[in-house]
């Protein structure tokens, strides 16, 4: 039986965060990564950017082609892990092979949700999810002949897919069950700005409704909505989110809630077995409890923290929370933390909208700290706010300034500024001492 010191299941960003950290400290140990998809590590978040007739797979690679070789990693691709024996430290593959490990990371991601609706079946040739390279390739093949598309789901991925399809010249409709698009992700005001941007570009948005049924046989020919509206289509994209892939962990007896449960060292209930990314439930420092955060930076950072602990260097993941950078047509949006929370949840909310530039800012505050924020249009230097939020800095004394476009370090009171800028040596030692 083959054996690796470090074994990773899932070949995506969580795996890369782990591998890069392992190798910055440990050049000698053996590492292998098992990936069900047959591809070199690529970025699924790039799908909307490369929706085209010819998919440039090379451009979608997340790391260069020599990545595994350069970092001394054995890729086991096109193989699925089907069994895990945590007592024996053994993983079983779908071809019957077994691999034993020293430490294991589960970075199995999520599985796209397909709601139970009559006729909605991604086996049909023109109904597709939008989460994997294979989906993109399938949609791309259909594009030359498609005129009308319907997207189920008005979340980030659905809306990005809708915009990309619109830009390919298709007539696009988005169908969202909630009363507004992006309902759990942004506040109502931002939802309206986004809906307006789509409507201006003649993308139809149907909210508060869903498919009653999908029409057609082998090929979907259209959908009927619950309100009776009928939308003909030759392409149907299902983008209603993903659920954590926990089957392997659950069968192995690991503690699983919605996602695989991990402690702040990213270790699961089984010693030596770690989990990160879309498959795991991590501690959100603002919520004060664990939740699934299906976000790119969370997978990378979780993989990194797992690596430290796998190496025996104790590290906690204490900076996880929700964060999104997104753009729809001419709107750039950045949100982080509990950005949709409001006064009824016990927070103070300050906001400002400038109608001429359509720029909008909303800050959620409590106990002298930022708990969340939304920036629309004026997103430059947004990371400073994230920094203040993660560090739990007191902001009451300058809170009105948060709403100003030109916010920067010089807006922050001197003492705090010095504290924030010292870490990476922005200012000279002399200046720090003298300011």
């Amino acid at each position: 039986m083959e054996r690796f010191d470090y074994l990773i299941i899932g070949n995506s960003v969580g795996a890369v965060g782990c591998i890069e950290t392992l190798r910055s400290f440990d050049k000698g140990s053996s590492i292998a990564v098992i990936g069900e998809e047959p591809h070199h590590v690529y970025s699924r978040a790039l799908l909307p950017y490369y929706l085209d007739n010819e998919v440039p797979v090379e451009k979608m690679l997340y790391r260069p082609v020599d990545f595994y070789e350069r970092l001394g990693v054995t890729p086991v691709l096109g193989r699925r892990a089907v069994g895990l024996d945590t007592a024996g430290h053994v993983v079983k593959l779908d071809d019957g092979r077994t691999i034993s490990y020293g430490k294991l990371l589960l970075a199995t991601g999520g599985r796209p949700i397909v709601p139970p609706i009559p006729g909605l079946d991604t086996e049909k040739e023109n109904i597709s999810n939008f989460v994997a390279l294979q989906d993109l390739q399938r949609i791309s093949r259909l594009l030359p002949l498609a005129r009308r598309a319907v997207v189920l789901g008005g979340g980030i991925i659905g809306l990005m897919a809708a915009e990309a399809l619109h830009k390919k010249g298709l007539e696009v409709s988005v169908v969202e069950l909630a009363p507004r698009v992006l309902a759990p992700v942004v506040d109502e005001f931002t939802s309206r700005l986004i809906e307006e941007a789509f409507r201006r570009s003649a993308v139809a948005i149907y909210t508060g409704t869903t498919f009653k049924e999908v029409q057609g046989g082998e090929r979907a020919t259209g959908v009927v909505l619950t309100d009776g509206t009928s939308l003909p289509c030759d392409l149907l994209v299902v983008a209603v989110g993903v659920v954590p892939r926990v089957d392997l962990a659950r069968e192995a007896g690991l503690a699983v809630n919605r996602g695989i449960l991990v402690n702040q060292q990213m270790e699961t209930s089984a010693a030596g077995v770690y989990a990160c990314g879309d498959c795991a439930e991590v501690y959100d420092f603002l919520m004060g409890n664990r939740r699934v955060l299906p976000l790119w930076p969370n997978a990378y950072a979780g993989g990194r923290v797992a690596a430290y602990n796998m190496l025996g260097m104790k590290r906690e993941y204490d900076r996880a929370t929700s964060m999104n950078a997104m753009h729809f047509f001419d709107l750039n949006i950045i949100t982080a933390g509990l950005n949709t929370a409001g006064e009824k949840d016990g927070f103070e909310v300050i906001s400002r909208f400038d109608a001429s530039s359509r720029s909008y800012r909303r800050f959620v505050l409590k106990d002298d700290r930022i708990h969340g924020f939304t920036l629309v249009t004026g997103i430059a230097r947004a990371g400073i706010f994230l920094h203040l939020m993660r560090r739990g800095c007191p902001v009451t004394s300058f809170k009105e300034k948060l709403l100003e476009g030109e916010f920067g370090y010089l807006t922050i009171p001197e003492g705090l500024r010095r504290e924030l800028l010292i870490d990476e040596g922005v200012m000279s030692e002399h200046a720090v001492a003298n300011q």
């Binding site: 690679l61 990371g383 200046a431």
Partner: protein
């Protein structure tokens, strides 16, 4: 890891570092040509904050565990383990601005015309960074990281 360190107490807020940064990243490397004829003109990769009488130039810190790299969905941003520099491959950048969200220093500059980003690359092809060479009041120094 050497990077640009600021002495804000001697910065006079002349913004010449921004000007020379544009020149250094222009095609012609000539100040007149860069500003008169090159379109789109490169964006300055240093941000000079102003809250008069105070001014503060901010450059990418080439962090050891960069939040921008963690957030970058395309792999355009990466840390070179040999040099310690954080590099940006503009050809792979899709302009998602996740790095703008992530950078604690606000050191990622949005290049909206090209829908890309730009950060201080330490003028790595030219030895010492151009802004450091050109700062009239020596408010910028190119030096190794210090610990407080």
């Amino acid at each position: 890891m050497p990077r640009v360190v600021v002495k804000p107490e001697v910065c006079i807020g002349c913004h010449l570092c921004e000007v020379w940064c544009v020149v250094a990243h222009s095609r012609s490397k000539n100040i007149l040509k860069a500003f008169l004829y090159e379109t789109p003109r490169p964006v300055p990769r240093v941000v000079v904050e102003e809250n008069l009488p105070f001014t503060l130039p901010v450059h990418c810190r080439h962090c050891s565990e960069p939040s921008c790299v963690e957030a970058c969905i395309s792999g355009a941003l990466y840390r070179d383990p040999l040099t310690g520099r954080v590099e940006h491959d503009a050809g792979r950048c899709v302009g998602c601005y996740s790095c703008v969200m992530a950078c604690p220093y606000g050191a990622v500059v949005m290049d909206e015309v090209n829908r890309k980003i730009a950060r201080c690359d330490l003028c790595k092809e030219m030895g010492e960074p151009t802004c450091v060479k050109q700062c009239p009041n020596r408010a910028l120094v190119y030096q190794d990281s210090f610990t407080s």
